[in-house]
Subunit: 491 residues, 2 copies
């Protein structure tokens, strides 16, 4: 082979094959858009072509995509975006003055006053200032510096970027990254791609998916035998598990990170999605600073936010930001260089983020409508969170923790041994078999728990609570009936 190459004789086969491609990419897995979703898309096509099925539409409860599930955009946000896209509308009396003011301010911050110009790679400066002010307000006045804010192409982009900075070393010195199991699969995918070592710590299903420091320590100590653990990732509120971390727990995690010399990554994209009574969102940044200078001056951290979730659910715009704390100034320069290579995050997404962090104020004309729309979305989500827990827990063989926050439930399912055997026979993991059957029989698309990780021998699925309430009720009812049928069939 090598001599062929050296002689310049071409091979028969392709240059790029499964055998000759980047092996790290091969190791990447991404269940949220995996085989079950591909099959769902296929079934949708079949339905369109008139193929008869026991259902008339596929309900995709596999992905946290609010607009796709019928949620309407916030009027004010879209007005400003229209004004930014086509500034001739600034003359139009149909648009409220506050929307125009916002659009004008954004346009003035753009090169040539156009959202079609590249921005600086870190993101438009006045938007980073607005983000900093938003964080300060959210965190009760703890200062935030716009220089520590980096706008991004969705939170995904920022998360991957920080991981990329952190991963190095070979063999036993290879960087290890601690992630919760069940996890959001962006993390495992990014770690595979970077060739980092994934360190699993398990959330406590029996305690409402809470994070347990003893388990963190177990995972860390085990990992130290074979890699160099340097990073601890937390998702709060949790995806796929829907838990909201207590203030105490966050303090414990920060203390643990300091003691163990770990870089903290706090994924807080669901910060407005808290529903359960007694639960409240506490940002890692706030708790860190309240723990005093011993912590706030030393613990290195990045926290992430996005336009995709919360009440706005604007996934398609790919807006987001991260705030870095105690990042080495030399590393910051490297970070800026790294983000420069892709030029800049999408400017419409930056504009949208600006509106999210700086929404209409009480004295502005759009305030009332904005608040009405925002409240409606969040209270409907809260209702659907309760409904989901309630109905699932009426089903023998399904155990569902309260959906305290975020947009998902991750119930445990008891599968009969015969179903497990049947799945093995088909070469499928048991909960994939379960979800595939549900899809084929009822047109409901869920993601098997195995796509997120779960304790050996347990089975789950993830479902979003995003379908409209009426539809959600139908979905829950159908899953209930399916589960009973399925259990029956394999008993």
């Amino acid at each position: 082979l090598k001599s062929q190459r050296l002689n310049g004789i071409s091979h028969r086969g392709r240059v790029l094959t499964l055998d000759s491609m980047n092996p790290n990419v091969k190791r990447v897995e991404y269940a949220v858009r995996g085989p079950i979703v591909q099959r769902a898309v296929q079934i949708e096509k079949e339905l369109k072509e008139g193929v008869k099925k026991p259902f008339t539409e596929v309900i995709k409860a596999n992905i946290g995509d609010a607009h796709a599930m019928g949620q309407k955009p916030i009027t004010f946000f879209r007005q400003v975006l229209a004004l930014c896209s086509y500034p001739a509308l600034l003359e139009d009396s149909k648009f409220p003055e506050d929307a125009k003011k916002r659009a004008q301010r954004i346009l003035e911050a753009c090169g040539g006053h156009s959202i079609g110009a590249y921005s600086t790679s870190q993101g438009i400066e006045c938007i980073r200032q607005d983000v900093a002010r938003y964080i300060e307000k959210r965190d009760g006045g703890i200062p935030s510096n716009p220089d520590n804010i980096y706008l991004s192409t969705g939170a995904s982009d920022a998360i991957v970027t920080i991981l990329k900075l952190l991963v190095c070393g070979e063999g036993r010195d290879r960087t290890g990254v601690m992630i919760s199991i069940p996890q959001y699969p962006l993390y495992s995918a990014a770690l595979a791609d970077l060739g980092a070592v994934q360190i699993n710590y398990y959330l406590d299903e029996d305690n409402c998916w809470s994070l347990n420091i003893t388990e963190l320590r177990r995972a860390l100590n085990a990992a130290r035998e074979h890699c160099n653990p340097r990073v601890l990732c937390i998702i709060n509120p949790g995806n796929p598990t829907g838990q909201v971390q207590s203030r105490q727990c966050i303090e414990d995690v920060i203390r643990f990170a300091k003691e163990e010399h770990l870089f903290l990554m706090a994924d807080e994209v669901y910060q407005d999605n808290v529903y359960a009574e007694g639960c409240q969102f506490h940002s890692f940044k706030k708790v860190l600073f309240e723990m005093g200078p011993e912590y706030s001056n030393t613990v290195e951290m990045a926290s992430f936010h996005s336009t995709s979730k919360c009440y706005m659910g604007e996934c398609g715009f790919r807006g987001g930001y991260m705030e870095v704390i105690n990042l080495d100034p030399e590393v910051k320069a490297q970070l800026i260089k790294l983000v420069s290579v892709r030029l800049c995050p999408p400017v419409p997404g930056q504009a949208l983020l600006d509106l999210v962090v700086n929404p209409p104020q009480p004295d502005e004309p759009s305030y009332a409508t904005f608040m009405k729309e925002r409240t409606a979305v969040l209270s409907t989500l809260a209702e659907k969170a309760r409904l989901t827990e309630q109905i699932f827990n009426t089903v023998p063989g399904i155990t569902c923790n309260p959906v305290q926050g975020a947009m998902y439930t991750f119930p445990g399912i008891t599968l009969p041994q015969k179903a497990i055997d049947k799945a093995k026979e088909l070469g499928l993991v048991p909960d994939m078999f379960y979800c595939m059957r549900l899809l084929e029989e009822d047109g409901i698309c869920l993601v098997p728990g195995s796509g997120f990780g779960q304790r050996e021998g347990t089975y789950h699925f993830r479902m979003t609570i995003l379908p409209p309430t009426d539809k959600l009720k139908v979905v829950l009812q159908k899953i209930r009936e399916f589960h009973l049928r399925f259990t029956q069939e394999f008993s």
Copy 2:
């Protein structure tokens, strides 16, 4: 150190430092947004604060950002984008019917009819169909399959993704990637990040920066001594060199790629930017298929396009696509999985791309205005291309090839030995010293040739031809005077 770690005793220092970060990221360089641009931003701030300078504004001719240089967006595109952002405008009689039709079609293809929903990771299907039709029309009917089209976050994203698939192996087996020198620094940056081997082939400055197969072969043979060359990257029309490849040359390159078993990457983001008489854009795809099945059935290729350049210059939207040819189906599945991790390209950018590949037709109401705007941009660019070559070539010590296409000139500059010595004394590469002086004295921001690569002992700068004609004339005149002054000073 290791025992400290094992004992759980925290280090004094930070987790993430220059010494403990990803070494590949450290190796990344990105001149287009490098130190000279950072200094330009600083000077702009100083001017705002009232600091006296020998000039009143900084003219940034460092980056191909048309809107930032005052170019106005295409009206039709922005009307459709406003309609997509705020569909209530579909009732507004001020918008032309064809814009509404386009917006409606895009919205219907979006989840929940909102551009705020995630799209499929490969990009919205009907937009990929439009892209395929555009390519077919461009290439005189050669078929294009929407399944081979992948929408992206600007061309940058797609280029990095394909490189990521291709890079593997260790030591002598490490993947080598051939890039033109001078190059667009996205390529060297991505290769450093991936830890691939960069193989330089030099464009022929004496022949209008043309590509020479003998030089390709020289570079390839030399590289085979120490790595596994698998990829050949071409930029046509060229950045930073502004050349347009002849059809013959493209054929030769394709033949070379086939003989040498190389994967071709054709960066064609400037496909509408061709100005020089006798020059014409030929897509690699078209030439490949015209060479017959022996080539079109075997040569693996990806070609790239973007919304950022051409007549629209919509950089901020981060729209783009790639078409893959002869990609192994198993690798395609891996590619889809890989792009899924970041969920989807920005949907407003996808919408914009749809308009670029499917602009107003002769029988539609927006056609006349669209054509007027498009033609005005392209003919002004052609005029500025001529002007630039002409004026630079009147300056003793500046040699400028014709700007046949794209948006840049990369003139060679003769620097006096004393200037070279002075630069060395200051620890700067000579053309960086030159550009820094020009920036400080005249407020003109160019990028030194060293940021793109150049033959040892030669010096250049890259300038965009994008400033408005009047301003461009001033810039050219100022550079002329600066060059004479600078040469005088160091003689």
